[in-house]
Point group: C2
């Protein structure tokens, strides 16, 4: 599977999240062998858990499955720029690469605000690639918030 297909799977998770009334953000986590080992959309409302962002859920699921706090060699595909919380757990888990779709000037913590990976306190900085399928990811978010006004 090429990276475009991984992001398609993340977008599918984002759409499913939106259908559940959650902010439509989705993520998949890919093993060094190229397998999708975890997939999730936001579930903060359903779980009453402010940490239940798509990225956090896939990191936690993959770590639990592997029995490890770290996921070296794993790549994360997520439809929106991670917030500071998710960026920090991505660093803690030693994720190799982060591919994200839409930019998030309002809440992002990778290329905005806290810029978590840019400080030595992060201990690990993944490679970051942004803009992948950004238009589709943005459209999902825009339509979701427009429908709730």
């Amino acid at each position: 599977m090429v990276f475009k297909s991984y992001m398609s799977e993340a977008l599918e998770e984002a759409r499913n999240a939106g259908a559940r009334g959650e902010v439509p953000v989705g993520a998949v986590l890919v093993s060094p062998e190229g397998e999708i080992v975890a997939r999730a959309g936001n579930r903060t409302r359903e779980l009453s858990d402010p940490s239940a962002h798509a990225e956090m859920l896939v990191v936690r699921a993959a770590c639990a499955a592997l029995g490890s706090e770290r996921l070296p060699g794993h790549d994360l595909y997520v439809t929106l720029e991670p917030c500071a919380m998710c960026a920090a757990v991505i660093a803690a888990a030693r994720i190799r690469r982060v591919y994200y779709g839409a930019s998030d000037p309002k809440s992002g913590g990778v290329d905005h605000g806290a810029c978590v990976f840019d400080h030595p306190q992060a201990h690990h900085s993944p490679e970051v690639y942004e803009g992948l399928a950004a238009q589709e990811a943005e459209a999902l978010l825009r339509d979701f918030f427009a429908s709730r006004r």
Copy 2:
């Protein structure tokens, strides 16, 4: 109970974490009525979960118990300066005040590095009070790491 006693409870959680082989950090979450509604120490190793810091665990537990993503009026007592991940979930949960013990230049995300609360992307900034029982909190951490060398 006064704030000093809340921090004593957090220190007790930190000691328990150390006894389990976890980094000795503890936290308690206090309701607007002054009740301890959640208490935890680190459990990252036990749970194979890089997000299982004491602060994250008490926020998640209290949110689940209340059925809410937010904890307005709640105060957090934690023995060590929160990392960027925990700072961001504290902001997301709208915690009112954060009291922390030891400073953490190496991994802190409140007064070091990402300084998560200092950016508009955090959406909420709790009041922060640092240095409460700092010497005890530092001694626990120092002894723990010394014993593992």
